[in-house]
């Protein structure tokens, strides 16, 4: 009896196992059938987007005012194109590409663009690794000189020259492609915005405390004293992020860093510590000692500084073009006044010079460019950006594209209108073919040369702001920068190709 019950139990177990195996096998067959069905659908689609989009793109550039969206073969569904797009701006409506992508996908339902968002510093660290390992996203934002540098080094970035036909080039201003063109004339990215560094002032706070919006360094110091007495932060600036020193780098320009670029960084006939640039650092140190910056700025990142300004708790903020979207549309926008910042009347250098340029771009991975459908979609997307509709969409995100478009800006907020007026101001010397950075002299090689000097140069500004270095430390710190500069120039000249 026991033997029979045991055999019966064993048999039942065996049957159960068989049933499980059969079910598993069925599941695998069903899954693979579904997959092959979807693959068959893709391959059986007769129309290719590449040819269709090229035709439509030509029509768009000729027209100039319409977004391209028609599929020539209207009867058959367009082939689905999946793209990845990487950025560090999380809010799609604040990202000049993200806001255009949303509209583009509405008019091109077959194109699916997945946005990957990274923290800014992490993003900058990941991209060179991705470039080196050829694992870049299909389309991604990056600094223009880093795009050309990566292209020169390992060709993981696509050469886009062939996609810049005469019609497309006609949509762009002359400065648009300067920083995205390699030494041998290859265009390796699509332009981002015209990058200029401005200062936003909360006029309501200035009016409340009877302070004039400063136009000179002395006026700024007076403003700091008044705001400090009233427990108001004058300049919203955090030093946890290393990069937002650009507003103060602009002061280096006003004290001659660009005017003396050849003597400082090429011929090396001028010491950094003995140049007039010292005055810019002294100015930052003086402001810090007067209490212009938030007390806890060493643990404050750029986004926290923006939040402080948006909350109406700071009077001023230095902000580059590509970050304006974070203030556009906020309640504080109506109270802002946009200026190029203060001048130093006792400086002999051009105080109207505004460093700028199309210093950022959108690159395409070489892998994505090998797929004709992907590259066609990417090119069409970027051509759409420089139509009037695309230009206006980018403006909504705060980005003024280098496009030959005359658009009515009355529908836009104060900041966009102010920035456009300022860029168009004939009295200002905006050199859109330049960059903030001196390292263009060093073969524009940020990794090997620019970063060695540029990082400690910016770090000194942050150190003065957070109080870890005082004005009295400036001479010694600049001597250290001189030693670094000498070594970098020596290495650059020794390895010059």
């Amino acid at each position: 009896m026991c033997y029979i019950s045991y055999t019966f139990r064993e048999g039942t177990e065996h049957m159960k196992k068989k049933a499980v195996y059969v079910l598993l096998a069925l599941a695998i067959v069903l899954l693979s059938a579904c997959n092959s069905k979807s693959n068959n659908n893709d391959s059986s689609n007769a129309s290719t987007n590449a040819a269709t989009n090229k035709d439509n793109t030509a029509a768009t550039t000729n027209d100039g005012n319409k977004a391209t969206n028609a599929n020539a073969d209207a009867d058959k569904p367009a082939k689905e194109v999946k793209l990845t797009y990487a950025t560090f701006i999380g809010d799609g409506d604040k990202d000049m590409m993200g806001i255009v992508i949303k509209e583009f996908m509405k008019t091109h339902p077959n194109v699916k663009i997945e946005t990957q968002v990274y923290d800014h510093d992490t993003y900058q660290q990941k991209l060179p690794i991705m470039a080196q390992s050829n694992t870049l996203p299909d389309l991604f934002w990056w600094n223009a000189t880093l795009i050309t540098g990566a292209f020169d080094q390992n060709h993981s970035i696509a050469d886009l020259t062939q996609y810049y036909d005469d019609d497309f080039k006609a949509m762009l201003t002359p400065a648009a492609l300067v920083n995205l063109t390699t030494k041998d004339g290859k265009i390796v990215g699509f332009p981002a915005e015209m990058q200029v560094q401005g200062w936003l002032h909360n006029k309501a706070l200035f009016d409340k405390y009877g302070v004039k919006i400063p136009t000179t360094f002395d006026e700024l110091k007076d403003a700091v004293k008044t705001f400090k007495q009233n427990n108001v932060v004058t300049i919203a600036e955090g030093t946890k992020d290393a990069w937002p020193t650009w507003g103060f780098e602009d002061w280096l320009t006003k004290w001659g860093i660009h005017a003396n670029a050849d003597a400082l960084f090429n011929a090396n006939t001028m010491k950094y510590s003995e140049s007039d640039v010292v005055n810019a650092y002294n100015a930052v140190g003086e402001l810090a000692e007067l209490g212009a910056f938030p007390a806890n700025n060493s643990t404050m990142g750029f986004d926290q500084a923006i939040a402080l300004f948006n909350a109406g708790k700071a009077a001023m903020i230095s902000i580059p073009s590509d970050q304006l979207g974070k203030i556009v549309g906020t309640p504080v926008e109506k109270d802002t006044e946009y200026t190029w910042g203060i001048q130093f009347p006792n400086s002999k250098y051009d105080q109207l010079r505004v460093p700028g340029g199309v210093t950022n771009g959108y690159a395409v991975s070489a892998k994505a460019a090998e797929d004709p459908d992907k590259i066609a979609a990417i090119v069409e997307l970027n051509k759409f950006r420089f139509t009037e509709e695309g230009f206006k969409l980018s403006l909504k995100a705060g980005a003024n594209l280098p496009a030959n478009v005359s658009a009515d800006l009355s529908e836009f907020g104060k900041i966009i209108q102010d920035q456009a007026k300022m860029i168009a101001d004939p009295n200002v010397h905006i050199d859109l073919t330049s960059d903030y950075s001196f390292h263009l002299i060093w073969d524009a090689n940020w990794e090997a040369y620019g970063s060695k000097f540029g990082t400690p140069k910016g770090a000194l500004i942050n150190a003065l702001i957070d109080g870890s270095k005082k004005t009295k430390d400036i001479p010694a710190e600049l001597k250290k920068l001189d030693a670094i500069k000498d070594q970098v120039i020596k290495d650059w000249k020794a390895n010059k190709k």
């Binding site: 643990t299 060695k452 957070d466 290495d491």
Partner: protein, 295 residues
Amino acid sequence: MVNNLYLFSKRWIKTAFILPTFLIFAVYTVYPLYNIILTSFKKQTFYEDFGFVGLDNWKNVLKDEIVHKVLWNTVIVVFGELVLLLPLGILLGFLLNANFKGNHFVRVATFVPYILSGVMIAIIWFFLLDPGVGVINAILKHIGLDSLAFNWIGGTKLTPYSVVAVDTWKSVGFYGVLFLTGLKMLPKDSFEAAMIDGATRWQRTFYITLPLLKETIKISAVMIVINAFNSFQTVLMLTGGGPNNQSHLITTLLYKVSFTQYDFGQGSVLATLLFLFVMAFSILILAFSRKRIEE
């Protein structure tokens, strides 16, 4: 028959079983280590290798005052965590070994921080410790103790101590459970004999329990030291190494030098230094343990 025995000899089979592990060890441990040490004598960026530069990288790193500060910060974190985590872990182990209502809750509550993400822990502590927006200083100012509202993070002095506090809070539950396990495995007969001889609770603890726990204490000490040297997320999230690189540890500085300044040569020097420190500590503790076992 004899030929078959030769063909499948024990040595051959042993080698075949060890080889995959050895290969993985060689590829993922030995080769990267060799590469790091080699790179420390080169000038190298992401894309370019400029070749050997002799001892230049080592000289630049070892004479840099920031590196001296960073080494000091790391020493504070390592010794701080050792001094705090060991005794707190032991005390927690004793507590968890006791029978009282709520014992399970205490066990879970102290262990939960250990399983949470390090980034999450750091963000939570940021909102406690930050001098501007942190809860601690806000409470201190509210009750009139403004003089005690220090720069727990963001200043040039206190950040390493704050890192010790955060890492200790995160890990004390784990070491508590480790010591609890050790206590559960202690032989009961020694205690029974001591009780018969009239030993007090304190005498049993100091003359029986702690000596029997020595091996657990040594293993815990090694783990604490290794984890302290590898502390990374806490500093990165709390301060980013600032102000002016003053709160970096070796790990965060080597990350910054390698991946933001693209100087793999100097970054490799820091990585090699870290490896040497961890190896030195581990060898010391192992040598001491071996001596103890022989005795």
